[in-house]
Symmetry: C3
Amino acid sequence: MQHFIETQQFTKESLTELFKLSSSLEGARERSLEGKILATLFYEPSTRTRLSFESAMMRLGGNVISVESARETSSDVKGETLEDTIRIIGQYADAIVLRHPEIGSAARAATVSKVPIINGGDGAGQHPTQALYDLYTIEREVGRIDGIHVAIVGDLKHGRAARSICYLLGKYDVRMTFVSPPELRMRDDIKEYLAEHEVPYSEVERLDGVMREADVVYQTRIQKERFASPEEYERLKDVYVIDRALADSMKEGAIIIHPLPRVGEIAEDVDDSPHAVYFKQVGYGVTVRMAILKTILGGESDILRPPAI
Amino acid sequence: MQHFIETQQFTKESLTELFKLSSSLEGARERSLEGKILATLFYEPSTRTRLSFESAMMRLGGNVISVESARETSSDVKGETLEDTIRIIGQYADAIVLRHPEIGSAARAATVSKVPIINGGDGAGQHPTQALYDLYTIEREVGRIDGIHVAIVGDLKHGRAARSICYLLGKYDVRMTFVSPPELRMRDDIKEYLAEHEVPYSEVERLDGVMREADVVYQTRIQKERFASPEEYERLKDVYVIDRALADSMKEGAIIIHPLPRVGEIAEDVDDSPHAVYFKQVGYGVTVRMAILKTILGGESDILRPPAI
Amino acid sequence: MQHFIETQQFTKESLTELFKLSSSLEGARERSLEGKILATLFYEPSTRTRLSFESAMMRLGGNVISVESARETSSDVKGETLEDTIRIIGQYADAIVLRHPEIGSAARAATVSKVPIINGGDGAGQHPTQALYDLYTIEREVGRIDGIHVAIVGDLKHGRAARSICYLLGKYDVRMTFVSPPELRMRDDIKEYLAEHEVPYSEVERLDGVMREADVVYQTRIQKERFASPEEYERLKDVYVIDRALADSMKEGAIIIHPLPRVGEIAEDVDDSPHAVYFKQVGYGVTVRMAILKTILGGESDILRPPAI
């Protein structure tokens, strides 16, 4: 039995293996997990993560039972521990996707669980399947990961998705540009990690230049309240919007990805640009989750290393 | 790919075809949609519409993913547009049943969707599968539609179901009687539509006479607050209740239908009258939705014309 | 067609038959209920009961449609009766698991339903599948029911689970000890029932002695507010906690069961005691519900007597 708690469970080699499996599963409808039951146990709402896993499980022929708001169930209200809840849900299902606001919760669940735990987001911790499908989107749409230039844009200080993709990219021969207002720069831990892995990076404040050079622009949201002041927000907000002119300035084959939802930071007329792959990215999310489920529940292979718990 | 947004997508001929398909699906359990996934995306609660579509999909061997209160999902709260949500859910599912409080929302969704949109009610707009199964109930239980006399009873001014069935009946050789308090009469748009289609109709205030003459009595709810005054409510409320004596006054083979829920406007002792088919009607709803799903997802035929969007 | 409303529908003989069927279904994944649809209709939240039934149905190859909070659906808000709701849901599903806060609600539902009703808890009434799997756990883990000594611990006055198991045990040759604070003693109706069935019982206030003697200790929660006074709570609360030392004092082969969730009344270090079977008990719950579903929907046998409604 294998849990999936953190991206560190993958090496560059096993990522290649996972993506090969993912690629073979694109558009597939199988009966390989027939009779298996996946529980989605969500302590905070995340409709897309839930639906994406449910869709992935069903495409493999499996079944799903769901707890959409575990915080409000009577057992949680009565004071049951997460550990006990996991022990119980593990009697109903063959694997559990856990979404929980506390960092480390997925690892805690894994220590007591008799069925595989899949981390569906543990607060400020990881959301490892998201990071995986961001990377998979790059591989599928750019055609390679080694040798590319990736720009990450927006609130790099708080954005979990922006931080997570850096960890994965650290395994590859890439260079990176961080685009953000000064007060929302990528934190030092990530920069040190990249330095250790000899990934060159630079930090800039403006988006326009990097749009012409990057192979991948990873756009994210900046919330108004994250800026130092309303004046700073007014000064900078439009700088980080990708409009059609900016999209058109991109190199051939370059792509724009986004964790979604977007609320204005990519103009709607960018959607039919050949560079816009952020909706396709959602589909790749289902594909990669199929691969994770098949790896964990289908006894597909020993792609995953054990988590460090 | 075909959306189903409005009843106008059917002609009299294609309705006959749809009802033939429906009839062949009564009580059926198939695997014809095995591996397909239907998303029910509800921006306002409608447990019956949701369960009815889910049951229909499962009877055809398909799977279902559900968003019961899309208004409260984090993406909607963050300000995502309906269009983006549709683009994303369309990556998880092979078709989307959309329930939304705004008129025209299903058509808006269809303009951007890469998977079929099925209108599950768009506010004051249409709820086309309901109108279809109301009509199917008439055909199945009376044995014909041409030549019959249909009475529609209750709040005809605001009732969406009452208005919708009129549009469909306009395609047939029927005559109609509208039974309502003066202030809740059918609006002019419907009357003009019927006049254009040469459907004779009359308007009356009392129910008792028409009960003896109609082949179909379509009873609906009147909410207390819709009356001009509390006195008017007191004066009229009992006039519109179908009790057992009224039901017993009906012609042989005549039927009572109702969009449900009822809250007093049909007495409980009418339930075992041979004229009472309103619970059976619910079952016909599942059947007609099976036919719609099979038409749209099973590549059954080109029964449907494209919607006018 | 057979409803399952109350444990009285089983005799000692038919319980043996049900448990034989359950035992054959442990760990099974079948397609025997393929194409069948179970509705879980919950008027009060009970995530575990819902998931347990859903898991059981899916393990038999069946489908599930769910209403998690029927109290908040528009039809209930509009004033629809439970009877009408049952008539309607019965058009969507092949059987209904009903959870409702009012005693007798499942029997009311059964009188009008055209599909089998399974009582998933009717307030202060019964939760018959829970009582069955409590008993099944005893049979599977102790190896027999006749001849054993069962201690029931906690709030015996209000605890539905504690009361229900007594009715079932009344059919067997057991002896019982009730362990509770004086103000939370088992009510007279149960004691009279046991006396009628010649089941010897005693009542004690302390847990430690009985732990050494009982074959089964059925631990339940005591809520602080049930004690006569805060002083009484302080005086007694620790007396009813099973810690590891108490668990270790048990006879070989003796077991601790619990309806869960627990919130302190069994210490966590008891979990890996050989006597602790309360999490396994959850799994037996799925098994017994599979047996009930197969009996009712699979035409398995005539194990069940009709309910007294």
